[in-house]
């Protein structure tokens, strides 16, 4: 698995096209930090913080899912997968190595761009607060982690890159763009007392929702969710909140990982 990890990491970082991400993130973050200029370095959750979180939620899940699913679909298309099947490599090692490789490369690229954007922000005189930056950074890493795994999971079902693209966009559109619309529509059919527990359940099902709520609560903004979520706010605010997050990440990862393995195993047999 370690070999696969390093080879994936190496191939990615040696591709020129990979560095387009550098431009994307630098441009996006520099512009977002420039927005913060009007905010006089307020470190609390403001309209600008909200906008940044939303843009991250628009961009990162989509890109990471496409990255993950393309990486599998690509090997399916060009025959590398068939070649790999002749090697004594377990599927778990293949998926695990792939995930670690892409995650390392993407995180490094993101980190580098984030640092450069911070530097640009400093040079252009944007008053930045450290706590504010750190929060946005780890929120992004969480999104990269979760949606990369989701992408790889989706990649195990597809035959071509075109399918991978369609599936990723569909998942992104459902999980991010029309999530509230869909929930409001579905919950409207439910009896009223069920709405609150189902909303909580839905929050755990969708990692983007979970991270967003977690971020806002850790940003001292939990009160805005109202009475219904008081217990959730207290839980996430406490030390147990971090443990819960780690457990959630672990459970989420293992679940998708297992399904990905099962799905690929079936395909290997055919």
């Amino acid at each position: 698995m370690i070999n696969l990890w390093f080879s994936e990491w190496k191939t990615l970082t040696r591709q020129r096209s990979f560095y387009t991400f550098l431009f994307l993130w630098v441009i996006v973050f520099s512009l977002l930090f420039l927005l913060e200029k009007n905010n006089m370095g307020i470190s609390g959750f403001t309209n600008i913080s909200g906008t940044i979180v939303n843009i991250l939620l628009y961009l990162l899940p989509l890109f990471m899912m496409m990255n993950g699913s393309f990486s599998i679909a690509n090997e399916m298309e060009n025959g590398q997968w068939r070649l790999l099947c002749t090697y004594p490599v377990s599927i778990a090692a293949y998926i695990g190595g792939k995930f670690l490789g892409i995650f390392t490369a993407q995180t490094l690229m993101f980190t580098f761009s984030f640092g450069v954007s911070m530097l640009i922000g400093l040079i252009t005189g944007v008053p930045l607060s450290l706590a504010w930056l750190v929060r946005i950074y780890w929120f992004s890493l969480l999104l990269i982690f979760a949606f990369l795994m989701m992408g790889i999971f989706l990649g195990t079902f597809v035959k071509t890159k075109w399918q991978a693209f369609t599936l990723s966009v569909a998942a992104w559109f459902f999980g991010i763009m029309i999530w509230p619309t869909a929930l409001i529509a579905i919950l409207g059919l439910m009896p009223y007392p069920l709405i609150e527990p189902l909303m909580k359940l839905a929050m755990f099902i969708n990692p983007a929702e979970f991270f967003r709520v977690f971020l806002m609560i850790r940003w001292d903004s939990g009160a805005v969710f109202g009475q219904s979520y008081d217990s959730v706010v207290h839980l996430f605010e406490s030390g147990t909140g971090i443990i819960l997050l780690i457990l959630y990440l672990l459970a989420y990862f293992l679940l998708l990982f297992t399904f990905a393995i099962i799905s690929l195993k079936r395909r290997r047999m055919t």
Binding site: N3, F6, S7, K10, T13, N38, N39, M40, G41, I42, S43, G44, F45, T46, N47, I48, G50, N54, L57, Y58, T104, L108, M109, T111, F112, F114, G115, V116, M118, L119, L122, P127, S129, L130, L133, V134, I176, M177, I178, W179, P180, T181, L187, Y192, I195, E196, M199, E209, M216, D220, S221, A223, V224, F225, G226, Q227, S228, Y229, D230, V233
Partner: protein
């Protein structure tokens, strides 16, 4: 000889430890009783365990006097007229529902530099007129109100510091009172006014409470230059709440970092001018607000700016909205493009509160754009201001050095690892 030295030592010991304890002949009450009407009595410094009653016009100076009270009755009871009390410290060790540390009635009193640590109501005023309270420091246990007024009029409260109580200053049926430069924190409501007209709140600071100032059933109030900040931890937290408030003037207040900046319901004919509403999760929320003038306020960095339902005949104009698209073609510092705020989120969540989880959800922002509310439901400012005076004197906070350090750390760290990735194996 030896014995007499022993006795002397014991006497010294006794005088050291018990000498300051008061006994019947020089108790506080006897000292006060001995003072002539209109006279000045200087109480001897020390720690006392007794309750006192002041019922005639005297000046009581009590520097260094500490009263420990372990009864459910008030430590100090003030009645009559023109009692002046200064520099006293009260420590209560018992609680009692509705009981008070200092109970006051009458008129023309002046209390200055008084410190109260108590689970009870610190100052309970019943039928008090024309009295002045200055430099009162209250430390409670979240159980009772700090200063509690009932049918008391024309009193002045100045520079009082109140912490950890239920309501910092509670006024009920008490007209014409003035509160200046008081600070209240870590309590339920900072200032709580019920059915009291003609009150003045000026330059008070209310932070980290459930509600900064709650004004209900009030007419002709002046609420000026107050700071209502950081009231955000509770799910019902807000900076300023106005309910059933009429003909009042709300001006030059700073309302920032609250869950909800201003909440106005069932109120009419007020003027809300030149306030700074900044960095609240929801800037201002209005329900059934009518005939109100809202001008020259600055709405800066609020996550959701303003929402209104069933409000009409209001004059909302010339405010500064940092999220507004502005264009000034005629140079009058006012934009020609109207600012409109959609109450979609408020309407959605008032029907089904669990949907509050969608606060600022990327998908909901989209939904709100698509399902635009009808024009009559929008809050519209026809001529928003181009700039705001509030912006000019903002202290810019920046942690340049640590941000630079972090950015260099991120850059070098990731570059190093990227390099390794390329070279390795």
């Amino acid at each position: 000889m030896k014995n007499s030295i022993k006795i002397l030592l014991v006497l010294v010991f006794v005088s050291l430890f018990f000498g300051k304890e008061a006994w019947a002949q020089n108790s506080l009450q006897t000292q006060i009783n001995a003072a002539p009407v209109g006279g000045v009595v200087k109480l001897k410094a020390g720690t006392y365990r007794e309750r006192i009653v002041i019922n005639k016009p005297v000046v009581v100076e009590a520097e260094g006097v500490i009263i420990h009270n372990c009864s459910s009755k008030p430590a100090i009871t003030i009645t009559g007229k023109r009692v002046r009390l200064r520099d006293i410290k009260l420590v209560d060790c018992l609680s009692g529902k509705n009981s008070a540390a200092i109970s006051i009635s009458g008129s023309g009193h002046q209390l200055h530099n008084i410190s109260v640590t108590s689970e009870k109501i610190a100052l309970k005023l019943k039928n008090v007129q024309k009295s002045k309270f200055e430099n009162i420091r209250i430390h409670g246990q979240h159980k009772e109100n700090g200063i509690d007024l009932w049918q008391s009029e024309q009193n002045l409260f100045q520079q009082c510091e109140i912490k950890n109580v239920q309501d910092g200053i509670y006024l009920e049926n008490s007209n014409h009172n003035t509160l200046i430069k008081n600070s209240i924190e870590h309590s339920r409501y900072g200032v709580h006014v019920m059915f009291s007209d003609h009150i003045t709140l000026k330059q008070n600071t209310s932070t980290k409470n459930v509600t900064g100032a709650m004004i209900m059933g009030v007419k002709y109030a002046e609420i000026k230059e107050n700071q209502l900040i950081d009231n955000q931890q509770n799910v019902n937290a807000q900076g300023l709440l106005l309910y059933d408030v009429h003909h009042s003037n709300i001006r030059d207040n700073t309302i920032s970092h609250n869950r909800l900046g201003m909440y106005i319901e069932d109120s009419s004919s007020n003027t809300i001018i030149q306030n700074k509403v900044e960095a609240n999760f929801i800037g201002t929320q209005m329900k059934k607000m009518t005939k109100t003038i809202m001008e020259e306020n600055a709405f800066i960095a609020n996550v959701n700016v303003i929402q209104a339902t069933s409000s009409r005949e209001n004059q909302i104009q010339h405010n500064y909205w940092d999220g507004a698209l502005t264009l000034d073609t005629d140079g009058n510092h006012k934009s020609n493009i109207a600012f409109k705020a959609d109450p979609y989120f408020l309407t959605l969540t008032s029907e089904t509160p669990p949907y509050q989880l969608f606060f600022q959800h990327p998908g909901l922002v989209l939904l709100q754009k698509m399902l635009k509310s009808p024009d009559e439901m929008l809050v519209t400012d026809q001529e928003p201001l181009m700039t705001s005076d509030w912006q000019k004197n903002v202290q810019v906070k920046s942690e340049k050095r640590s941000v630079l350090l972090l950015s260099l750390l991120l850059i070098t760290g990731s570059l190093f690892l990227l390099y390794i990735g390329r070279k390795k194996i």
